[in-house]
Symmetry: C2
Subunit: 338 residues, 2 copies
DNA sequence: CTGAAAGCGCTTACAG
DNA sequence: CTGAAAGCGCTTACAG
């Protein structure tokens, strides 16, 4: 029932002009303290709030930022989103969420939609398809419209756009090195992302570590495919050969599939096989067995990306693209306690 | 660089008035087909898009809906959010996401913020604290401001607000009945939500089922607490007594904790203990062992809630609150295959 | 110190 | 069929 009061109505009630009311509420030094007080009192009484749409129109902005995540089942992105939301709210921005469902087409549809002026900036982790097609025209398009874009997590090499990610090569390098230091030499990996994007980077990190440590890079130890049944089959085969001593799951799905496959084969973690995976802090400790994981600090990633985007929106940054790399951390739970 | 073109600029280029351009683009029958075509061609050439902020100001709406989820780690809410996003986009609304972190205070802060006119409506699953305090003044407040509110998942009894939920009593009733029909009589439950809200409803459903089926309701079989270490302790004790034949986890966390505790005790699922839980379709099949679960159709819940909210916003609905109950489904995986 | 005016980018009743 | 005017709810340079 109680409908929102406007500046005009307040002005009428106070017998002053709309300008005076507006200035008073914005603490303009132009207005006498007495008037300011009168205005503020009445405003408070009526619980006046400026209409954000009108303010935004005037200020030529929207007060919104968009975030596009490729999927939402993966708790990693949910966590990032949480970080973005917290930070954006602090900075006075609303977060409009979109889910691309790993589809380039949908991603284009969404960027097209927001290029109309729905948001002041975009945070995006590009879809698998986008990476595969290597098609980023839609992002460049937004930049041409002067809508800042910040990439997170799934970073893209050789592109002139702000990014916030983790050092994926290093993260797995560390994992391999840890296992090596504990005298584990036959280390396999499982990747359901295929060999593009993050999957590719992580695989490279693995290979680099093996090379540096003098471990043979045996193709047999690498289960890499985007086809889930194929991943399962290869994994089973690998386990039945009883050679591999440790497995690293390179993504959420692979990690769970690997833990499951090991146990299905009647093998024990960590006694028979050690495991390290990419799962998050909420779920890793309550699985059985609990899984050691690479902490990618998703909340912090979201916060950092949001902060950077807002700085771009405000034009506070030099125009050269900024690349932020967060340090990952290997967290040890039961699967590497041996 | 390429800055957005406005109606005014188009009008100038075409040597017609702003009104004519606006009407042409909106296919007004007032304008001659020839003019309409001229205008549209130029608009297309310049890739003209109406400024949504201006349109919204004029139409006295925002085009946004807010959704407040209590937490984001729980993949259930992530899925609901996915459903909301898809449906809202179809209906021409943007989804602004907020996370209350199970805090009433934060929830109030957020509702206060959006009451300023940031959104046209709100979807909310209230926080645990809100349920415990039984304080819904902030929601009624929004309704007074004529901002429609739709509750989802965590529904509240005796409140005059639209809701979309599942029949929590029935869902667990079905689970108990299924186990009973397979000759399992000693059925325990584990709940980390405590005995408020959904936890309470599910516990009631359990008790009702036991009563109807003539099973004794033994307090010992009910592990209920909001304190995680306490849940773990009680669970361990219960398992060591080796009486219980099946356990039902009433929420995501309890379900994983239960599966883990059973295995830690060296017991096998389903051979020694059967299990049913509240986890989602993505994760249930890749756990080891895979867990039978109550499918609450989170996507559908999000879609239904969004549709209802948009109808309220458009004023297409009679004003009596609508209560939609989705049917849950018991999905059988390894933990009940016996 | 206060207010009239212009304007943000649109839409739409009204006049011609 | 076209356009001038008013208005959505604000802000702000400018005049008094």
């Amino acid at each position: 029932m109680r409908s929102k009061i406007t500046l005009k109505e307040l002005a009428k009630l106070l017998n002053v002009s709309v300008s005076t009311v507006s200035k008073s509420l914005n603490d303009s030094p132009e207005i006498s303290p007495k008037t300011v007080q009168r205005v503020k009192e009445l405003a408070q009484l009526h619980n006046y709030r400026p209409n954000p749409t009108a303010v935004n129109l005037k200020r030529n902005r929207t007060g919104n930022i968009a975030v596009i995540v490729p999927n939402i089942s993966n708790t990693f992105f949910a966590k990032v989103l949480g970080g973005v939301e917290t930070e954006a709210r602090k900075l006075g921005f609303q977060v409009i969420t979109y889910i691309s469902n790993e589809s380039l087409k949908l991603e284009k549809q969404i960027t097209e939609l927001i290029s109309n002026g729905l948001v002041d900036g975009l945070l995006i982790s590009v879809s698998e398809e986008t990476q595969k097609m290597n098609d980023y025209a839609h992002l460049h398009n937004l930049l041409e419209y002067e809508i800042p874009v910040v990439l997170f997590d799934r970073i893209i090499p050789n592109i002139e756009i702000d990014m916030v990610g983790v050092n994926d090569k290093d993260s797995i390098y560390d994992a391999v090195q840890f296992l090596y230091s504990r005298n584990i030499k036959k280390i396999g990996l499982v990747c359901a992302l295929g060999d593009i994007g993050l999957g590719q980077l992580r695989i490279e990190g693995y290979k680099k570590a093996c090379k540096d440590l003098g471990l043979p890079v045996d193709e047999k130890f690498a289960v890499v495919s985007r086809d889930i049944p194929e991943v399962k089959d290869k994994l089973k085969q690998l386990l039945q050969e009883k050679e591999v001593e440790a497995l690293i799951g390179l993504d959420f799905l692979s990690t769970l599939l690997t833990s499951r496959a090991i146990q299905e084969e009647g093998l024990k973690i960590p006694e028979d096989i050690k495991m390290i995976g990419y799962v998050n802090e909420d779920i890793a400790p309550i699985l059985y067995p609990s899984l050691s994981y690479v902490d990618q600090h998703p909340r912090q990633m979201g916060e950092t990306a949001a902060t950077l985007l807002v700085e771009r929106i405000k034009g506070n940054k030099p125009s050269t693209p900024s690349h932020t790399t967060l340090k990952t951390e290997l967290k040890h739970l039961d699967s590497t306690r041996f």
